[in-house]
């Protein structure tokens, strides 16, 4: 790594630099962990895109509290409903964030919470329907680190 001052300034936003070189001491989940969690959740079902939408900020001012929301398109009846939604943060020391379990009584498959992100990374959400079919959405959230946040 050989950055001179000009390059550092050119990069401007410190977070970009920090992300590029990685944060000392922060462990990152192995790719295998993410795959394993997904396989357990989907029980081997094929994953399609669509139906599930993850809302998350493009840039999080602080990784300690990042508001996110998931919604899944479904009529939410006894015959057809969203069973569960799993949220993973691929760049955290442990990828698991939360799993929401819905029921036909949910009326609407929507839930929001606030999560911790150790660094800039992808958030992955997988929705599992009552018939076992699975859908996926994914967003990258940039986490600003450093600066003068006292």
């Amino acid at each position: 790594m050989n950055l001179d001052r000009r390059q550092v300034l050119a990069l401007g936003v410190g977070a970009a630099v920090m992300t590029a070189i990685g944060l000392p001491g922060v462990a990152v989940a192995a790719v295998g962990d993410v795959e394993k969690a997904i396989a357990e959740f989907t029980k081997g079902a094929e994953i399609t895109t669509g139906k599930v939408v993850l809302s998350a900020p493009q840039i999080a001012e602080n990784g300690n509290t990042v508001p996110i929301e998931v919604t899944v398109e479904s009529e939410m009846t006894q015959a057809s409903y969203v069973d569960a939604v799993m949220i993973l943060a691929a760049g955290n020391p442990n990828p698991g964030v939360a799993t929401f379990k819905f029921s036909p009584m949910s009326g609407e498959a929507l839930a929001s919470t606030r999560i911790r992100l150790a660094k800039t990374q992808d958030i992955i959400v997988i929705a599992r329907m009552n018939d076992g079919s699975c859908y996926k959405d994914q967003k990258t959230v940039k986490v600003t680190i450093g600066g003068c946040g006292g």
């Binding site: 001012e61 600066g147 003068c148």
Partner: protein, 286 residues
């Protein structure tokens, strides 16, 4: 290696932001309006006469839309978990006298309305200004004969937040004259004094460069109208003194102590720079 690189980059980033104008990213206060449960809280006003600033902006205006959102409903505002705790404490009798806050002050919303907007405030008894923290402790030790709470104790933060909430939307009105004058001067000296390895003063960031980015951070005017504030970084409420300490550490200065006369003077002076701004306690910041 990584540590070395990190600290070098940080030093360069901070110093660089002030040396090279090209590294400034103009990003003024936004034009968002703050409504909390549909009641508007004014987040900017024309500066009062004698202010070194032209216009006063609440720190809320410098935050990202997601952080701003967290303050727009009292349920979603995580600082309100502490309010729930403080409401219980308000009615809880403690100490040798068997009194609670409510024994003297009745309901908090009638007894404490507008109170915090005037703090820090001169105390003849102390011979120096009272902050809300020392005022709460005076009640505890003298009237309740209970143990004082520590400055950053969860109970103290919760109670000062609850008292502050009773002034929400009311203008900050800290007195600078009379016996407060010398403390204001002392606070002002601290505000403008360059300190630390980076040789910076409060004014360098919060008066001369608010609205600009310092690395990844959007600098505010450093107004304290929302304290105690829920900081995402802290994952909880914290006092002005804790925030001051963080700033001083960032400029590589030896920080004054929480509760020190220096920080009391600085708190009084910084509060007075926000005279007229609406109280936002408990605000949410990054």
């Amino acid at each position: 290696m990584k540590f070395y690189l990190k600290s070098t980059l940080m030093a360069l980033g901070v110093a660089g932001a002030f040396m090279a104008t090209t590294s400034f990213v103009a990003a003024d206060a936004d034009d968002h309006k703050l409504f909390i449960d549909d009641v508007e809280i004014l987040t900017d006003i024309a500066a009062p006469e004698g202010s070194p600033l032209d216009h006063l902006y609440s720190g809320w205006r410098f935050r990202s839309p997601e952080t701003q959102d967290l303050q727009t409903d009292d349920f979603g505002n995580p600082g309100f978990a502490a309010i729930t705790l403080a409401e219980e404490l308000w009615d809880t009798a403690e100490g040798a006298k068997g009194k609670s806050c409510a024994s003297c002050h009745n309901d908090v919303d009638e007894g404490m309305k507008g109170v915090s907007a005037a703090y820090p405030k001169w105390s003849d008894k102390l011979g120096k200004p009272h902050t809300l923290v020392t005022r709460v402790n005076e009640c505890r030790t003298d009237r309740m004969e209970a143990k004082a709470w520590k400055w950053e104790a969860p109970e103290m933060l919760a109670m000062t937040a609850l008292v502050g909430l009773q002034s929400r939307g009311m203008p900050v009105a800290v007195k600078s004259d009379g016996p407060m004058k010398s403390w204001m001067e002392k606070g002002k000296d601290i505000y403008y004094a360059r300190v630390g390895q980076l040789n910076m003063s409060c004014a360098n960031c919060h008066e001369q460069n608010f609205g600009n980015m310092i690395r990844a951070d959007h600098l505010s005017q450093g107004q304290i109208n929302g304290f105690p504030v829920y900081r995402l970084k802290w994952g909880g409420l914290g006092s002005t003194h804790r925030r001051f300490k963080g700033c001083m550490k960032n400029i590589r200065a030896k920080a004054f102590g929480v509760g020190s006369d220096e920080f009391i003077a600085l708190e009084a002076y910084v509060a007075s720079r926000g005279n007229g701004l609406a109280v936002e306690t408990p605000a949410v910041r990054n």
